[in-house]
């Protein structure tokens, strides 16, 4: 009886070993950031940042200070209020559409709320600009794009803020005039 059980038990254990091997999390899962989620208008608090996304829009051309931002694609214009929670920290913005990362533009120097440092208790309100393909609204994943705000480019095992944005119903404005970041909330 015991001998008869040995073979199926051995095979079962072998299958279990394969299952364990294939279900073991890889680096992307082990090193995934700790995500705090929220929606437009919510004040979202992560370990490092406190952020409120006030508004989201698409535009063909943006004007910021004396800079005119043209693109062969389209701009995602995010109006946001961001401050550090504990200590001075960087603010990085990235949009993920179906796993593809689109970073906040660095073409505007420090005239956006990302790409600069934030201090604890000092909210700054302004724009985040992300250049996207012209056909972004018809791309797979455009209805569930993820905007991530993090303290640095490398977000592995770090605390980040994420908002899911539906880009498909947004109107594309021709030209949008933006203000440089200002102190305080909206």
């Amino acid at each position: 009886m015991r001998r008869a059980l040995a073979v199926p038990a051995g095979l079962g254990l072998l299958l279990l070993a394969f299952g364990v091997a294939y279900s073991t999390p890889g680096a992307p899962q082990v090193e995934a950031p700790f995500v705090v989620t929220g929606g437009v208008g919510d004040q979202i608090v992560s370990q490092h940042l406190v952020a409120t996304v006030n508004d989201v829009a698409l535009a063909e051309v943006v004007e910021l200070n004396s800079w005119t931002g043209t693109t062969s694609g389209v701009w995602l214009v995010v109006d946001a209020t961001v401050e550090a929670r504990i200590e001075r920290t960087g603010v990085e913005a990235n949009l993920f559409i179906a796993g593809v990362r689109y970073p906040g533009t660095n073409r505007t120097s420090t005239d956006t709320v990302d790409g600069r440092v934030a201090d604890a208790g000092f909210p700054v309100t302004g724009a985040i600009l992300i250049e996207l393909p012209a056909d972004v609204q018809t791309m797979p994943g455009a209805a569930a794009a993820v905007l991530r705000l993090s303290p640095g480019i490398d977000a592995r095992l770090d605390s980040v803020i994420e908002l899911t944005l539906d880009l498909t119903p947004l109107d594309v404005a021709g030209r949008v005039e933006l203000a440089t970041p200002r102190d305080g909330a909206r």
């Binding site: 929670r85 504990i86 200590e87 001075r88 201090d119 604890a120 208790g121 000092f122 305080g184």
Partner: protein, 171 residues
């Protein structure tokens, strides 16, 4: 079931001992060294002199200036910290850092020093950067921007790379 437990009691007891032991042993190479390098704050009173990183350090004054009165940025007050520092035995390399710390929000927050943050001007007789790498005494004054009305009892944290994990908390 009770017969099974009785038959295997020594194995179960061994598991009960070995599993926690294995967890502690696995923590030894990482957790305990991690804890040892965490900053170890040492409280120092205003006016008290303490030997730190080869220097005698004294916080001689610490005040919060109303940001509106000194023309600070909107929503900010200015903290002015003044030190008397006498570097006696400087280490080869000592990176000195000074922060304001406040737990008045319910958790600790930190602010770095800022130059030209308001109409307040540091008098010429003061140094404005902390240095612990050359023998000599000097007076140091640093200014910090903090959120208006949110930091009433600031604490100055002074650290030297040569003396870590020990850090001074002066107030």
């Amino acid at each position: 079931m009770s017969a099974w437990v009785r038959r295997n009691r020594w194995f179960l007891i061994a598991l009960g001992v070995l599993i926690p032991t294995a967890i502690v042993v696995s923590l030894v190479p990482r957790w305990f060294p991690y804890q040892e390098i965490q900053p170890q704050p040492e409280a120092v009173e205003l006016g008290e002199t303490v030997r730190y990183s080869g220097a005698d350090i004294q916080l001689t004054a610490l005040e919060v200036l109303d940001g509106a009165e000194v023309g600070a940025a909107a929503g900010a007050d200015v903290v002015v910290a003044t030190f008397a520092i006498d570097v006696v035995e400087p280490p080869e390399v000592a990176l000195c850092r000074v922060h304001i710390v406040s737990n008045e929000a319910g958790f600790e927050r930190f602010w770095d020093s800022e130059l030209f943050v308001s109409d307040y001007r540091v008098p010429d007789r003061f140094e404005q950067t902390c240095s612990l790498s050359e023998v000599g005494s000097y007076d140091l004054q640093m200014t910090f921007l903090v959120p208006r009305g949110e930091v009433l009892n600031p604490v100055v944290e002074l650290s030297s790379s040569a003396a870590l994990p020990r850090v001074l908390r002066l107030s």
